[in-house]
């Protein structure tokens, strides 16, 4: 048994190295003064750490702006989802109303529908209403996501209704019941949702890419993808920029692992 465990651990360590090697390669490039694949492999002793690549990437016009854009958009989209998914989840979990079943099926269907089908008409729509290349285009369509509604509905269903009923008898208004009684009880699932939405948004590429055009409206992933085409940008700078994009997400993951794991699995287990 001991031998078997040792063999398994060895195998798992081997896989772990394989899984993390590309990211380690990114960090190696981002912090190196003389980066080239050949020299790094042949003579690792030449390696010296520097922050120059970060300094030079920050000087690229609008790079800092793209980081700021991602933070602003991510923050507002997350805030919107917290409020609106809570409202929808509460409505689905606690109320009977005509069309409830149909709407709930719609929630699940929208999760499954491939986004490629709407990119062209969404682009046209956003252009026609004058939102093209603006924060509104990056934020408003993403304020309520169906996965969040599902998450909240399932969570609120499990909460006993006694406290709400008692508050209702005491004459508390509907909004008061939702925001000052139900919301605090949903804190764990709201944390899951916040982490999930922020990370997805921070990494999202396709829609932000087609809904903006000027460099000052780009989000970080879009900026990154376009950096390759810039003159005088080399791999060390691209890796430094990639590090700026990847590190916050990995940090959030390591800090809030439990939330992320339950967010990933919650949708799957109960559907």
């Amino acid at each position: 048994m001991k031998l078997r465990n040792a063999a398994l651990l060895l195998l798992m360590t081997f896989i772990l190295v394989g899984m993390l090697m590309p990211l380690w390669w990114m960090l190696l490039g981002a912090f190196s003064s003389t980066f080239s694949s050949g020299s790094l492999i042949k003579n690792i002793t030449d390696y010296s750490i520097t922050l120059d690549n970060f300094a030079s990437i920050m000087k690229v016009k609008n790079f800092g702006r793209s980081v700021l854009n991602s933070a602003i958009v991510g923050g507002l989209v997350t805030a919107g989802n917290l409020v609106f998914c809570l409202m929808c989840g509460y409505a689905f979990a606690r109320f009977r109303f005509p069309g409830r079943k149909l709407l709930f099926v719609t929630v699940v269907a929208v999760i499954m529908i491939p986004v490629h089908i709407i990119i062209i008409p969404l682009f046209l729509l956003v252009k026609n209403i004058g939102w093209y290349d603006s924060y509104a285009a990056l934020i408003v369509p993403f304020l309520v996501n169906p996965l969040g509604i599902l998450l909240l509905t399932q969570y609120i269903r499990e909460i006993p209704t006694d406290i709400e009923e008692a508050a209702r008898i005491d004459g508390a208004g509907e909004f008061r019941i939702l925001f000052s009684i139900v919301a605090p009880m949903c804190k764990p699932v709201l944390a899951v949702l916040a982490v999930q939405v922020f990370m997805t948004n921070w990494n999202s590429f396709l829609l932000p890419f087609i809904l903006t055009t000027s460099d000052s409206m780009r989000t970080l992933p879009v900026m990154l993808a376009l950096l390759q085409g810039y003159q005088q940008i080399d791999w060390p700078q691209i890796f430094a920029a990639s590090t700026v994009s990847a590190i916050p997400v990995i940090a959030v993951f390591l800090l809030f692992q439990k939330h992320i794991v339950s967010g990933v699995t919650a949708g799957a287990i109960k559907t």
Binding site: W25, F95, I120, F253
Partner: protein
């Protein structure tokens, strides 16, 4: 179900649902329908007028060798990645589920690639795969022949290289789903099997796998829908080249619709892909559903 003043509560339901319903209709449902309409027109962004052309876009697409190539590449991508991703994810989940020291560290480590931005990963692999890059040098060291212009600029290896990267990214994500399913299998099943003298291998086939079937369906289904839409890695790494060898269906839609602004045509392509995805998804539900029905 609940008492109280029905009418005032009813009103609140629609207030609660309105932000979702409004964004749903404006930004998802309407474009979804508009896309179908566009697919029957010759709409071009820069043209002054557009007219109804019936199914002309669809018939033209079926004769467009670029589009057929895109469908073929997408099929190769889907069929070539999903079996590997699923099996590797399951193996990883079984490994991490062993009661070994540091299992949590391994779990987190394997999961990290799938939470990192796809653009970042694609950039890193562009460098690794490039001529004189880390992977070519490694191959040279062990004597494996490498393509002259780097993996991504050679017709024979470009798509396969991107597929390998995608398997690498996704395995950790699906591992987590399998792990959750594994943990929800009641221990009593295994205890009973052990009492009956079943070997570990035997109980894997007759307990673990059947119990994992619903999760297996979910994993394959989600992965199918996702993989059919492969775009970001193509945009960052190859732009569909060399010689269309990595041109995928969504890249085709993007290129014709938002690059050349031939929007009616691109919408028809998008709808064909959508229908194919739906057919695949329903087939998978059928296959897994029937098997599950007989197993129970």
């Amino acid at each position: 179900m609940q008492g109280g003043s029905i009418t005032s509560k009813q009103r609140h339901v629609w207030i609660y649902l309105s932000p979702w319903l409004i964004t749903l209709f404006i930004f998802w449902a309407y474009p979804f329908a508009h896309s179908l309409y566009l697919s029957f027109t010759d709409y071009e962004l820069l043209a002054k007028s557009s007219s109804f052309v019936g199914i002309a876009n669809y018939t033209r697409l079926l004769q467009d060798s670029d589009f057929l190539r895109a469908l073929l590449n997408t099929a190769v991508f889907v069929l070539g990645t999903i079996p590997f991703t699923t099996v590797i994810a399951l193996v990883l989940a079984l490994l991490v589920n062993q009661k070994l020291p540091g299992a949590k560290i391994f779990r987190s480590g394997y999961f990290i690639p799938s939470i990192t931005s796809l653009v970042v990963i694609a950039l890193i692999f562009t460098n690794l795969y490039s001529k004189g890059g880390y992977l070519t040098l490694l191959c040279d060291m062990v004597g494996i022949p490498t393509p002259e212009r780097g993996f991504l600029f050679s017709e024979g290896t470009a798509l396969a290289s991107i597929m390998v990267m995608d398997i690498w990214i996704a395995s950790g994500y699906y591992m987590l789903l399998f792990l959750a399913a594994l943990k929800s299998i009641p221990c009593e099943h295994y205890e009973a099997a052990a009492i009956d003298g079943a070997s570990g291998w035997r109980s894997f086939w007759s307990i673990t796998l059947p119990q994992l079937r619903p999760m297996m369906l979910y994993v394959v289904l989600i992965n199918t829908i996702k993989s059919f839409q492969v775009f970001v890695e193509i945009y960052v790494m190859t732009k569909g080249g060399p010689l269309n060898s990595t041109l995928t269906a969504v890249y085709f839609v993007y290129d014709r619709g938002l690059h050349r602004f031939d929007m009616g045509y691109a919408s028809a392509a998008a709808y064909i892909l959508f229908i194919l995805i739906m057919i695949f998804a329903l087939l998978q539900m059928r296959v897994f559903g029937i098997e599950r029905g007989t197993a129970e």
